[in-house]
């Protein structure tokens, strides 16, 4: 029993002292420039990385909702927002016209063979990661209408 409890404490302590970085991956901008995760991690302030795809409806709902309040958030919090699309050759060509058609304010990157998604063991979408000083400080999967308010609260408290 005691050893069981100790093991449990040990596992909990691992989770508490946990601070990961983004694994190395090379991503593409919509006009074919290369951006590595090193560049993303080295940004000042908070960095939000939101994984999405042109075929993922909750992802689009989330990005639509955030785009409406984006300017208000920007006034209060210092953050950079990356929308990382995991579309492959099937749907990749729809990314650019869709992003422009929606006038989203995000920096859109493409993880075409899903190297970053796999490196982070992401299995369901949407998936949001927040980085502070290059370390992952928040992760969240799924979206239901209104959940962007929780992300705002998280960013607000992390920015202090």
């Amino acid at each position: 029993m005691k050893s069981y409890l100790l093991t449990l404490c040990f596992l909990v302590s691992i989770l508490l002292t946990y601070a990961q970085k983004l694994p190395y991956a090379s991503l593409q901008t919509i006009d074919n420039k290369t951006v590595s995760t090193k560049t993303i991690s080295s940004k000042e302030g908070l960095v939000v990385v939101s994984f999405w795809a042109t075929w993922c409806v909750p992802c689009i709902n989330e990005l639509d909702a955030i785009s409406e309040v984006f300017d208000d958030w920007k006034e209060e919090i210092n953050f950079t927002f990356y929308a990382v699309a995991i579309d492959d050759a099937r749907t990749k060509n729809r990314i650019r016209p869709m992003v422009k058609g929606k006038s989203w304010p995000y920096q859109v990157l493409i993880d075409e063979n899903q190297d970053l998604k796999r490196g982070l063991n992401i299995t369901s979408m949407p998936f949001v990661i927040v980085l502070k000083k290059g370390e992952i400080v928040h992760k969240h999967t799924g979206y239901s209408q209104g959940a962007e308010e929780e992300l705002y609260t998280t960013l607000k408290s992390l920015s202090k």
């Binding site: 100790l6 404490c9 040990f10 302590s13 691992i14 989770l15 002292t17 946990y18 601070a19 990961q20 970085k21 694994p23 190395y24 006009d31 074919n32 420039k33 290369t34 042109t54 709902n61 639509d64 409406e68 492959d88 050759a89 099937r90 749907t91 990749k92 060509n93 729809r94 650019r96 016209p97 869709m98 992003v99 422009k100 058609g101 929606k102 006038s103 075409e112 063979n113 899903q114 190297d115 796999r118 490196g119 982070l120 063991n121 992401i122 299995t123 369901s124 998936f127 928040h138 992760k139 969240h140 999967t141 799924g142 979206y143 239901s144 209408q145 209104g146 959940a147 308010e149 929780e150």
Partner: protein, 565 residues
């Protein structure tokens, strides 16, 4: 006693420090899908066509992946998979028991990125080579061998690779070799606003032949070249693949005289303006099936796949729009004298527009419109149907730009509108023309379907929200009319419940008017998620990312768990 306690605490503190540093470099992902298949009074008892048994009702697929990063430049990865007591229904029988699925060690420092073991990669859009993982499809064609990418300067990268495909827990007989170059010409030319990329590739597949005097080589060479241009609000891309001469299997054997090259051409162009985007894609494929083991051509488990040729149609969200899904036709197939396929030709167009807010049609938040249409036909050809007994060899000649039998066309559009801070709706309409005879080798000829669907989301306070969805499919052929609906309630962004049903009420056969109902819920915390579902799964094609897998009709209780830290 006290000494023991102190030493435990000290040890604990030490372990915590070490583990803290250890875990900083460790990524863990665990995913499990467990299904209890039960007998269904309406659709019949549980039966597995592959193992030809109705015994093992409980099935599960489990994946544990560990990635560890040493010193910032060296990393190791291992994925253990367990299919126990057997894999889920319709997964390849090569996934059996528990074993190491993939492992690798990677060195990434400065200009060099090298991996030994299993790796995933793609050249260009994947038209010549792609290895990737899709657990839902049971697809994992990781290459086992080595890959090295050298980047002598910012604008140039060179990749060379060798490997054998992963096939279940074994590997392919055939060997894959590849070389790829990617140039960014813009910086060389001193352009700032224009991006121009160019990339040639080579992929070789060598597989031992057990034929006497084969009329083709063990090594099949494929070459490709791609060119991408981005000029302000305009962009365009071109990719061309030429696959060298190779024997074409007919009824699982080769004829030394039926030897042909293959080719693919993909053209893409688009334009974006303020709140507007348009994209046109066209493709021609001829004899482009490419497998590490030749006789695995067209296998239903998507094993040994060298290249990635997705259907270029919109990936639909509403479930009734996913009954008649186009599957790309890249293989040469002589199914019957009047059913010969050698490739496909066609294209799709996408338009996106957002109506400005504070206008009569835009309302307070703006309105998003999306239109998509596609047309795909078989390559027009003249052919000779084989008759081995009479010594007649198969042959064909395809026209360069000839549109033959129509395989598929669709037209669809959607209007997404936010009415107030609480209400959001999505309205969808689609027409489809699906050549079931050619696409599924079925007795039914052409299915013409019309689909209308709508969903509405209502946002309440405290993170609560509800969603209602209704859809209908009209068709006079095949299974005829369908109706469907979904109700979903989110108690918070972390907890949700849903119930949905698809009802084939228009089916001519009274006993096949079936309700495909499902209900369940999911709970998530951070990056972890657990979902439960009970219901009846419609049989047919399950397509993810343009690749399809055949699933049989089944009823059961499903639990999915995914954890990552």
């Amino acid at each position: 006693m006290r000494a023991i306690q102190i030493s435990i605490l000290l040890l604990f503190g030490f372990l915590q420090t070490v583990s803290g540093q250890f875990s900083n470099h460790l990524n863990v992902g665990f995913e499990s899908s467990l299904i209890w298949y039960n007998d269904d009074p309406k659709t019949g008892d549980f039966y597995d066509d592959v193992s030809r048994s109705g015994e093992e009702h409980l099935r599960s697929n489990n994946y544990l992946k560990l990635d560890y990063n040493f010193y910032g430049f060296l990393s190791a990865s291992i994925q253990v998979e367990s299919y126990s007591p057997s894999a889920l229904l319709n997964f390849s029988p090569n996934y059996d028991n528990t074993n190491i699925g993939t492992y690798s060690i990677r060195y990434k420092q400065g200009k060099i990125d090298a991996t030994a073991g299993y790796y995933y990669t793609q050249f260009g859009s994947g038209l010549i080579l792609r290895s990737w993982e899709d657990r839902e499809l049971g697809l994992n064609n990781a290459l086992r061998g080595g890959i090295i990418t050298y980047k002598p300067m910012e604008d140039l990268s060179v990749t060379a690779l060798y490997g054998k495909h992963r096939v279940g827990f074994k590997t392919s007989n055939g060997n894959i070799f590849g070389v790829d170059l990617t140039f960014n010409l813009s910086n060389r030319l001193g352009w700032e606003t224009t991006q121009m990329n160019f990339g040639p590739s080579f992929v070789g597949r060598q597989e031992k032949l057990e034929l006497e005097n084969p009329g083709f080589d063990e090594l099949t060479n494929a070459f490709s070249s791609r060119f991408d241009l981005s000029l302000g609000s305009f962009y365009a891309g071109l990719e061309y693949v030429l696959k060298g001469k190779d024997g074409i299997a007919f009824r699982n054997s080769f004829d030394n005289y039926f030897v042909k090259p293959g080719s693919a051409i993909l053209i893409n162009a688009g334009f974006t303006g303020e709140r507007f985007g348009a994209d046109l894609t066209m493709r021609r494929l001829e004899n482009m099936s490419f497998f590490s083991d030749r006789l695995k051509k067209g296998n239903i488990y998507n094993e040994n796949v060298v290249n990635f040729i997705p259907a270029l149609t919109k990936q639909q969200d509403f479930s009734l729009a996913n009954i008649y899904v186009y599957q790309p036709q890249f293989s040469v197939l002589f199914l019957a004298e009047n059913l010969v396929k050698v490739g496909e030709i066609g294209g799709q167009l996408d338009l996106f527009y957002k109506i400005k807010k504070d206008t009569p049609l835009g309302g307070a938040y703006g309105t998003s419109l999306a239109l998509n249409t596609s047309y795909w036909a078989g390559l027009k050809n003249t052919s000779v149907f084989p008759n081995p007994d009479a010594g007649i060899t198969a042959n064909y000649h395809a026209e360069p730009l000839g549109f033959g039998t129509k395989y598929f066309s669709d037209f669809n559009f959607e209007i997404r509108k936010k009415w107030s801070s609480n209400w959001l709706t999505n309205t969808f309409f689609m027409t489809q023309n699906y050549n079931k005879r050619y696409l599924e080798d079925s007795a039914i000829e052409i299915v013409r379907a019309k689909i209308a669907a709508m969903d509405a989301i209502y946002k309440m306070s405290d993170g609560k929200s509800a969603k209602i969805e209704i859809q209908h499919l009209w068709a006079k052929e095949d299974k005829k009319n369908w109706a469907g609906g979904t109700l979903e309630y989110n108690f918070s962004p972390r907890l949700s419940l849903y119930v949905n049903d698809l009802y084939n009420y228009g089916n001519d056969h009274q006993d096949q008017r079936i309700h495909y109902y499902n209900f369940g819920g999911s709970i998530s915390k951070g990056s972890n998620r657990l979902s439960l579902n009970y219901g009846r799964q419609r049989g047919g094609l399950l397509c993810v990312g343009g690749v399809c897998r055949i699933v049989s009709e089944s009823t059961g209780l499903t639990a999915n768990l995914s954890i990552s830290f």
